[in-house]
C-alpha cells in the first residue's frame, strides 16, 4: 500500500469507520512510514480539536413550542409557502396574466365610421333580405340571363326547385 492510498484511508481509521482489515493495513504502513505517521497524527489532532465545538441541549420549552407550531400550522402548505416552492409555475402564470392584460389594454385599431351613403346602401341590403329568402323569386330571376357571359350556365343549377 503506497502513501497516496494510505492518505485516502487515514480518515476512516481516525474516525473509527474503517473495517478491521483496512485499519490493520493502514496501521502497519504507518508503523514503518514516518511521513504517514505524522500525517495520521495531524489528522487525529484535527479530529480532537473538533471536539471543542460544543453541543447544545434543546431548551426546556422546545417541545411545547413545537406543538404550538404544529397546532397552528395547516395540514397543507400555506398559499405563499406553496408559491415560494413553485416559483417556476408562478412565473409562468404571472407571464400569462401579464400578456392577457396587455392584450386587453392595448389600443384597438380605429376603423373609420361608415359614410352616410354607405350606411344607406347597407340599410337597403338589409331591408331586401326577405326577398332573397323567397326562392321562387330567385329561381325566376331572368335579369341574370341578360348579364354578359350568362350563356355559359352548364355548371350552374337551372333551378332551385
Amino acid at each position: 500500500m503506497d502513501c497516496e492510498r494510505i492518505e485516502a484511508a487515514l480518515l476512516a481509521v481516525v474516525d473509527g469507520r474503517a473495517a478491521k482489515q483496512e485499519r490493520e493495513r493502514v496501521e502497519g504502513h504507518v508503523a514503518a512510514c514516518g511521513a504517514c505517521a505524522r500525517r495520521m497524527e495531524e489528522m487525529q489532532g484535527v479530529w480532537s480539536d473538533l471536539d471543542s465545538l460544543r453541543a447544545v441541549e434543546p431548551s426546556p420549552s422546545f417541545d411545547a413550542r413545537l406543538r404550538a407550531r404544529m397546532a397552528e400550522q395547516p395540514a397543507r402548505p400555506r398559499f405563499f409557502e406553496w408559491m415560494t416552492g413553485n416559483m417556476r409555475l408562478v412565473a409562468v402564470v404571472a407571464a400569462l396574466v401579464a400578456v392577457a392584460v396587455w392584450i386587453s389594454l392595448r389600443p384597438t385599431i380605429q376603423r373609420p365610421a361608415p359614410s352616410s351613403a354607405q350606411a344607406q346602401q347597407d340599410f337597403a341590403v338589409v331591408k331586401n333580405l326577405p326577398v332573397l329568402e323567397n326562392y321562387d323569386v330567385v329561381a325566376n330571376f331572368d335579369v341574370l340571363s341578360d348579364l354578359p357571359g350568362a350563356e355559359d350556365t352548364s355548371t350552374q343549377p337551372q333551378s332551385l326547385e
Partner: protein, 216 residues
C-alpha cells in the same frame, strides 16, 4: 422507558427506547395517526438535530427554530410518507437545506453579528462544560475554541455540512453521501479536502507548534 445511549464513534447522546421499533416503523405509525410515534422520533432526534443545526448556524435560538421547522415538515409530510431511504437521511437532509437557506438569507446579518458576538462567545452551552470547568476556562482556551469555530465556519458550505455530519452524527459514509446528494467517493474526496484545510488552518494550535494560538 427511554434511556440515553452514547455513540462510541461520535460521542452523540441518543435517546433509545428498549421497546423501540425502527424509525421507518415509527414513521409509518405517524402516518397512521399515532402521535406517540412522533413523540418517540422527536425524543430520539431532538438533541442531535438541534446540535447539528447549532454547529451550522452558531445560534441556539435559530438552531431550535430550524429544528422545529424540520420536525414540522416531517409531520406535515406524514400522509405522503413512503418507506424508502433511512429516516435519518430524510431528516438531516431537510435540516441541511433549512440551515443552508437560513445562512444564505441572513449572511449579511450574521456577518454583522460575528463582529460582535455569537452564542459561543457568550460562554458555554447548557450541557457540555460543567460549571467548575467553565470557571477555570482561560482566555486562551476561549480563543482556541473560537479559532476552531471560525475554521469550520470558513469551509465551503458543502464541506462544512459533510464535516459536521461526519464528526458529530452517527452516520455512515453512504448515508452522509445521500444527505448531500453525492456519491460516496465524492463524499470521501470532499471530506479529505475539508480536513486537509482544517489541518492547515489549525496547525498553529497543535501542541508542538511554537507559540500555540499565535500563528493565525
Amino acid at each position: 422507558m427511554a434511556e440515553l445511549q452514547l455513540s462510541a464513534a461520535t460521542g452523540v447522546l441518543y435517546n433509545l427506547d428498549p421497546m423501540a421499533t425502527t424509525d421507518v416503523e415509527l414513521m409509518l405509525g405517524v402516518k397512521a395517526g399515532d402521535e406517540a410515534c412522533f413523540e418517540r422520533l422527536l425524543a430520539k432526534y431532538r438533541t442531535p438535530l438541534v446540535s447539528f443545526l447549532y454547529r451550522m448556524v452558531r445560534n441556539q435560538a435559530t438552531a431550535e427554530d430550524l429544528a422545529q421547522e424540520a420536525f414540522l415538515r416531517v409531520f406535515r409530510a406524514r400522509k405522503d410518507y413512503v418507506p424508502g431511504a433511512k429516516f435519518t437521511t430524510w431528516l438531516f437532509r431537510i435540516a441541511t437545506n433549512l440551515a443552508l437557506n437560513s445562512l444564505r438569507d441572513s449572511r449579511r446579518h450574521l456577518r454583522d453579528l460575528s463582529v460582535d458576538q455569537t452564542d459561543e462567545d457568550q460562554g458555554p452551552g447548557l450541557d457540555v462544560i460543567d460549571p467548575a470547568a467553565e470557571i477555570e476556562e482561560t482566555l486562551v482556551e476561549r480563543e482556541r475554541a473560537k479559532r476552531i469555530w471560525d475554521a469550520v465556519e470558513a469551509l465551503p458550505e458543502k464541506q462544512r455540512v459533510a464535516v459536521l455530519l461526519h464528526k458529530y452524527q452517527d452516520l455512515g459514509y453512504d448515508e452522509i453521501a445521500r444527505i448531500l446528494g453525492c456519491s460516496e467517493s465524492a463524499l470521501k474526496s470532499l471530506l479529505f479536502r475539508a480536513y486537509e484545510t482544517l489541518r492547515v488552518r489549525l496547525a498553529p494550535l497543535a501542541p508542538d507548534a511554537t507559540g500555540a494560538g499565535k500563528g493565525k
